[in-house]
Symmetry: C2
Subunit: 340 residues, 2 copies
């Protein structure tokens, strides 16, 4: 898992280089098609990447996005009107039966289908009109890391190809990912402090909402921590009641639009004597937290999701080691999960 | 909270009676408008009702549904193309700033807006082109119960008004809700067993996926239990790793489409020696669980969400009492939560 975490700057660079031409053509084709709805279908980590995808595509392209409920297609066999829709399946292995069934059905209902995968000959490529590849090499750890950030990257590339407005400049992403990796020893020291943590809440908002789901999933998979995940806003609609003295909250909060509401939540958590660890690049957020790791201040909120999940991945891997567990072989799980 | 739980059959009957004419007219109007996307905006319990709404509207009406991320409108001020969309805000109090901002913006972007609320003169009625009222009387407990099932009911009424196919027969819903209430003493005995439960996972799928979120939220609000919620499918993509010997899982599982995958999960949980409490009306699901409460076998999966959440509400209220807490005044919360 740690080795694969460290490969991420390379994977980003390779994927941008290899996929750009295909995406430019695809963008022109889809703009001509007048897509007015994007549906994202995924499970597990890929579904967390899809949460980011929904924010990015709605905000950057102005096209409404629906996160698909696969059982609507698989169990309930609903016939949806998808004539003007782009339906995207996201799957590291490309083998998830449910996601592939969604794509197959969506095509029948008139949608253009797109697959985002790390596996160039997998079944998802057969049910997709076009495939976007992550160039990550094989991912051996059960806990997805480099394929997750590869999926995030593909949403940026896709947004750039769909929008008629200014493109997002992705040049610095590999450098930002590298600077996140430099925090490893610091993160490892912090992780040791949480050796006996049994449950926690992970919060993040907007562009980093999907990251809060992803970090919680990593903690469940590799550390067996019961990890809740919420947006900083939703957390105040009920779940805040679970917080008691020394309750651990992990917060992913770059400078940017959510800062004001993030600071409000941090103040409430301090009053409740909660223990808050922030992954941030903002001094006032760091000051309002019990502890923090600081990423470079120059990272914009828009580009924060990839560099900001990396300290989270490192935290999960090192906490797993501190708990004397094996992050690469979580109990009860296998790399490909088949559900319908 | 218990008193309000017990009022639910009455609220259902009253709401059906009072709102049917308005909904018939609205349905005709919306069908003529050729809506090809429905967006649902809500927070907290109302958002859990919206999860049910997405399944119901997609399956019964064939119109794709998107669960809105309010911050896309409030923090990021995205301009979405919503010309052919119906945007529905769901709010018990009608006072949530974020939901109301979504409705206000959506209207500017061309959508028809609809509010579902328990409060006939609240701000949500000003930003909605039409309002659907829950006739629940004032809800005093911070934990929403009768307004939640009132919201579920409105999704049925709306689906019936939008579809050109066979209507869902809702006549028996008050009777089903009453039969669920008859389980109170049984549920109260079971709840006592969980007095020292600190965390758990709630699972449910399809039409009952939103209910799993809602029961988890009730447990967080009124019992301070760290309660995760998953679909039975998603649970196997990673989170299953948290399950250890005697780990409590609460399962909402009627007979119906998810039964096969539910039974698979229950078998895996038994192998892991987990403790599984099922709310069901199916004998084989009951047999595969550690313990269960049985609702009438005649309740179809389609009509199960309202009667099946009621034993969950009762469970939360009695567990709260068993823990010597006050379910009506959760720490750190108030009835109206303002977030943007």
């Amino acid at each position: 898992m740690l080795r694969e975490i460290r490969q991420q700057p390379d994977v980003i660079e390779k994927t941008i280089r290899a996929e750009s031409t295909k995406l430019r053509k695809l963008g022109k084709f889809l703009r001509d098609r007048d897509v007015d709805l994007i549906v994202l279908a995924a499970r597990g980590s890929s579904d967390n990447a899809a949460i980011f995808g929904r924010y990015l595509l709605e905000i950057a392209c102005g096209i409404p996005v629906s996160l698909c409920a696969p059982s609507v297609y698989t169990l309930y066999k609903a016939k949806l009107d998808l004539k003007r829709a782009l339906v995207i399946g996201i799957s590291q292995s490309g083998e998830g039966t449910d996601v592939n069934t969604v794509l197959e059905q969506a095509r029948k209902y008139g949608a253009f289908t797109l697959g985002i995968t790390n596996s160039s000959r997998s079944p998802i490529t057969k049910v997709s009109d076009e495939t976007l590849l992550i160039h990550a090499g094989k991912e051996r750890s059960v806990a997805a890391t480099k394929t997750y950030t590869g999926q995030l990257l593909h949403f940026y590339l896709l947004a750039n190809s769909l929008t008629t407005k200014a493109k997002i400049n992705l040049e610095k992403l590999p450098e930002y990912a590298s600077s996140a990796l430099e925090l490893e020893s610091e993160v490892s020291e912090i992780a040791a402090r949480y050796t006996f943590m049994e449950n926690c809440v992970v919060v993040g908002r907007g562009f980093n909402y999907g990251n809060s789901f992803e970090l919680a999933l990593k903690l469940m998979e590799t550390c067996y921590v019961v990890a809740e995940r919420f947006s900083t806003a939703d957390f105040q609609h009920g779940p805040l009641a679970v917080v008691e003295r020394r309750f651990p909250v992990i917060h992913i909060g770059p400078r940017g639009a959510p800062k004001r509401t993030d600071l409000e939540l941090l103040r409430r958590l301090k009053e409740l004597n909660a223990d808050c660890f922030s992954i941030t690049n903002d001094r006032s957020i760091a000051r309002a937290s019990s502890r923090s790791v600081m990423l470079p201040a120059g990272i914009s909120e828009l580009l924060s999701p990839i560099p900001f999940i990396i300290p989270g991945q490192l935290f999960a891997a090192h906490l797993s080691a501190a708990k004397a567990l094996d992050p690469d072989a979580p109990r009860s799980l296998s790399k490909i999960t088949q559900t319908v």
